[in-house]
């Protein structure tokens, strides 16, 4: 018997499913997460998967959180251990007093268990094999059977799960009824043989509201549809492939001419990332809105074109779904590790605009906005997602679109303007904002044509290697980047209840863990003002936020504190004032980690200095 008393919690616990990749568990696990949402209880699921299609271990973690803490929590309260390969590690990861759910068809020696956890054995294989004879069916329905057993153990409403199955298999009666049957097989066995419910329970609440449940990659792809992207060129790479796939799927539904059936978009799977960005640059040069989706290694390959886009001033949108690097790194693990690689991408002096969405809703907004920014600024815009928000379903506010919104195509000199006698210099700063006018190819028979090149040229696009001409152009590009500062999404600031000398800067997918960490820190008596940076170049409020505090923590998911370096470098900040909080093991950052790291630092600050003790 466990010495530890069993964990007891309603609507606040973490369930982790340990599965074998390719066993069909993903859809059953997702069904579990969705069915909790239908109880009105927020969940935050995460896929933890290997770079493999079949056979290697994979985990699916569902954080059930009535409080709405959508960041990863860390720790496991209920382990659904379906993978013998990872059994020992899985069992070890359970919190004391937690629960282990396993397939008890084959007896296991007691050494395989722990005495401080609660073990629930369900003979899943026996139940499955006595009902189904087809091997594939056995595999798939076993997943639904454990879902049924869990519904009894966690006191979930089976009607809500049936409803979801009904929606999923609408019109496919046979599949629908067989899934419902499997669900009840597991549920009934548990009700009859195990004490239900356990200490962890799901109770109906009203905490989901009108929020939607969507992956960041799908939301960003939808943002590209709404933002008017017509050309997408990409090369398969985890974790960004699903973004291009989602764009194709959205376009198939939303972008075909109803009369002719023809496509109002073109998607090309390039032969590599170089071709993909080349296609984007070519299409954008020719006046279409174009983007590519990639990840770190792809960014490395695109460097030369990114420099061309910067120097020749051609719009481009790159959705970078970050994963752990360097090199192949950990392709299926999350990080925010391409900040510097993107901010200063390519050789020579370059700077690029980065947008940092915190969740799918912002991924949608920023993706759409990226196309306006790319054309307004005539340069590359990076939308910096990461695997955590890109490839996981996340609960977020509904997507919104204002029908009055028009695409801002930037400064384009039309045939009419040319005929009016407007002076056209492709690199001429007519408005003092560093942004010149461009013309689309084919616009006018005799005016407005120019020769685009990555080589130095004067304000009228005439080849020149004169030092002063080159410097003049490079200075204008700096001016343009300063203009960008007020065009990109501003940082969001939230102050502590009482004035504090300490602040914290964070960005992107760290947001939900940070929000939760603030609560944990407040409970420890540490007050922090916070600022979520949403774009680079940094708005002036970033420097003033830092100036207003003695210390500012910079929380990020990479080893080298890249955002901190960028802030120090771009704003001339004394590095001592920015305390790095770095999480970089490839797992999503947790509130526990942030609160622990900041809390420890704060505690140290409160220690009485030695010299004071002496005197």
């Amino acid at each position: 018997m466990p010495v530890q008393s069993p964990l007891s919690s309603v609507n606040d616990f973490v369930v982790r499913f340990a599965n074998v990749n390719g066993s069909g568990s993903a859809s059953a696990n997702e069904l579990f997460a969705r069915s909790i949402l239908r109880h009105g209880v927020p969940v935050s699921p995460r896929n933890i998967f290997p770079s493999n299609i079949q056979g290697l271990p994979t985990w699916y973690e569902v954080r059930v959180t009535e409080e709405g803490h959508l960041g990863a929590r860390g720790g496991v309260d209920l382990m659904v251990a379906m993978n013998p390969q990872t059994w020992d590690k899985d069992v070890a990861s359970i919190e004391p007093g937690g629960y282990l759910f396993y397939d008890s068809t084959k007896p296991l020696p007691s050494s395989k268990f722990r005495n401080d956890i609660n073990v629930i054995g369900v003979p899943l294989t026996a139940i499955t094999n006595s009902t189904y004879s087809d091997p594939r069916q056995r595999q798939l329905f076993k997943n639904i059977i454990y879902l049924g057993a869990l519904s009894a153990l966690l006191e979930m409403d089976p009607k809500l799960i049936e409803q979801l199955i009904g929606e999923q298999y609408k019109g496919k009666e046979k599949l629908l009824s067989s899934n419902v049957h499997a669900l009840h097989l597991g549920r009934d066995w548990a009700l009859q043989n195990v004490k239900c419910p356990i200490g962890l329970r799901v109770r109906k609440a009203d905490k989901v509201g009108d929020r939607i449940f969507i992956e960041g990659n799908s939301a960003a792809a939808l943002g590209a549809v709404y933002g008017g992207a017509t050309v997408c060129a990409w090369y398969p790479i985890t974790p960004s492939s699903s973004l291009a796939d989602a764009f194709a799927a959205h376009c198939k539904k939303l972008r075909h001419d109803p009369k002719t059936g023809k496509a109002k978009y073109a998607i090309v799977q390039g032969e590599d990332e170089l071709a993909s960005i080349g296609i984007v640059v070519g299409a954008s040069w020719n006046g279409a809105r174009a983007f590519t989706a990639t990840s770190g290694p792809g960014i490395s390959l695109m460097q030369e074109f990114i420099g061309l886009s910067y120097f020749a001033e051609i719009p481009a949108v790159i959705m970078n779904v970050q994963r752990a690097g360097p090199s192949t790194g950990m392709p299926t693990r999350t990080q925010q590790c391409d900040i510097l690689a993107c901010a200063y991408a390519s050789h020579g002096d370059t700077k690029h605009v980065l947008l940092f969405p915190e969740d799918p809703a912002e991924a949608f907004e920023f993706a759409a906005q990226a196309f306006d920014l790319a054309e307004q600024l005539q340069t590359t815009i990076f939308v910096m997602l990461d695997l955590d928000i890109g490839m996981n379903h996340r609960l977020c506010r509904p997507l919104k679109w204002d029908d009055a919104r028009q695409y801002d195509r930037g400064k384009v000199m039309t045939a009419e303007m040319l005929d009016e006698g407007r002076d056209f210099g492709r690199y001429l700063d007519v408005d003092g904002d560093g942004i010149p006018y461009r013309t689309y190819p084919g616009a006018h028979p005799t005016k407005g044509s120019y020769f685009t090149r990555g080589t130095s040229r004067d304000r009228y696009a005439r080849y020149s290697e004169e030092g002063s001409v080159y410097a003049d152009n490079m200075q204008r590009l700096v001016r343009k980047f300063e203009t960008a500062q007020d065009m990109v999404p501003r940082p969001l600031q939230a102050n502590a209840e009482r004035p504090t000398k300490y602040g914290v800067i964070y960005f992107g997918s760290t947001a939900p863990a940070m929000d939760e960490a603030i609560e944990l820190l407040e409970a420890r008596g540490h007050l922090l003002d916070r600022m979520r940076i949403r774009a680079f170049p940094f708005h002036s409020s970033v420097a003033s936020f830092i100036a207003d505090h003695d210390f500012v923590y910079v929380v990020e998911q990479n080893r080298d504190a890249q955002l901190r370096s960028l802030i120090v470098n771009e704003n001339g900040i004394d590095p001592v004032r920015l305390v790095p909080i770095r999480h970089f093991d490839g797992t999503p950052i947790t509130a526990r980690f942030i609160a622990g790291a900041i809390g420890d630092h704060q505690d140290q600050l409160k220690l009485t200095p030695l010299r004071k003790v002496k005197t």
Partner: protein
Amino acid sequence: MTYIAKPKFHHPGLPKNRLGYTHRDYEGKISTLCAGCGHDSITASIIEACYELSIEPHRVAKISGIGCSSKTPDYFLGNSHGFNSVHGRMPSVLTGANLANRDLIYLGVSGDGDSASIGFGQFAHSIRRGVNMTYIVENNGVYGLTKGQFSATADRGSKSKKGVMNTDNAVDLVAIALQLGASFVARSFSGDKTQLVPLIAAAIEHKGSAFIDVISPCIAFNNHAGSTKSFDYVREHNDAVNRLDVLTGREPISIEYAPGMVKVVEQHDGTRIALRKIDADYDPHDRVGAMAFLQKHAAKGQIVTGLLYVDPEAEDLHNHLNTVDSPLNTLGEGELCPGSATLEKINASLR
């Protein structure tokens, strides 16, 4: 020498084409290449072909990579937009540009370093996709701008100016273009304008991926004895299979040659090419035959030139992608944005 402005003045009696343009209207800036460079002859042939086709110059987008050849788009069609992009990446930039606006004419200019080495992949894949373009490789077998290194099209056994023997096998871009499904494949010689001009014109009229390999001797680094890309060598070993004598667009053509010696090729958009056969057995519609013919003649040291293959029923990338007829770059919010009501439905499906 681009700082020297080219005078716009021209003889009032210069002939004009259907659009009322003279030759001069198709010219660009003064070339900065070496005097006598084969590339300048190709530039002249492009100008001639566009003039004869009565193309509106601004409806052409000329795109290149990096190298001597890739500089040339500045020297023709001064009223066209040009893009001197990244080394070896012309094909991707052109593909993107083509996707954005299917109504323009796309002229890709590249070199042997650009297309057979650093950009070999992009060359291959743009051909595979059937991008509607005229892809010209100005092939001199040498890196000119970096002073005379062998390129991947240099023949095995040929000698560099410094006397070094090339021991690597040569890439034959024509053979590869055929294998990858180019729907118009030709080879010519910069020194043979009468053959080259109609080939360029026919390639422009062709709706699909048209590839022309133009042997273009490098006067500075690859025009010596022992080179297989010199003027003398190419003249001696040129084996033309046919000549395009008449190219008449959509007008009916008159055949002036002996029956059996002229083949009229009608493309599916109605344009016609009249092909004068030199080698009576050569069939330019037989892709496999063309490949074998090329290999046999290459083994004998002969450079086969002419229109080597044409598929009059070619389809292009836009056909494959089933894109709308209007250029994608002309579509606005009305055509592209599904609107808030649709988004509400999407939201509802995600709950």
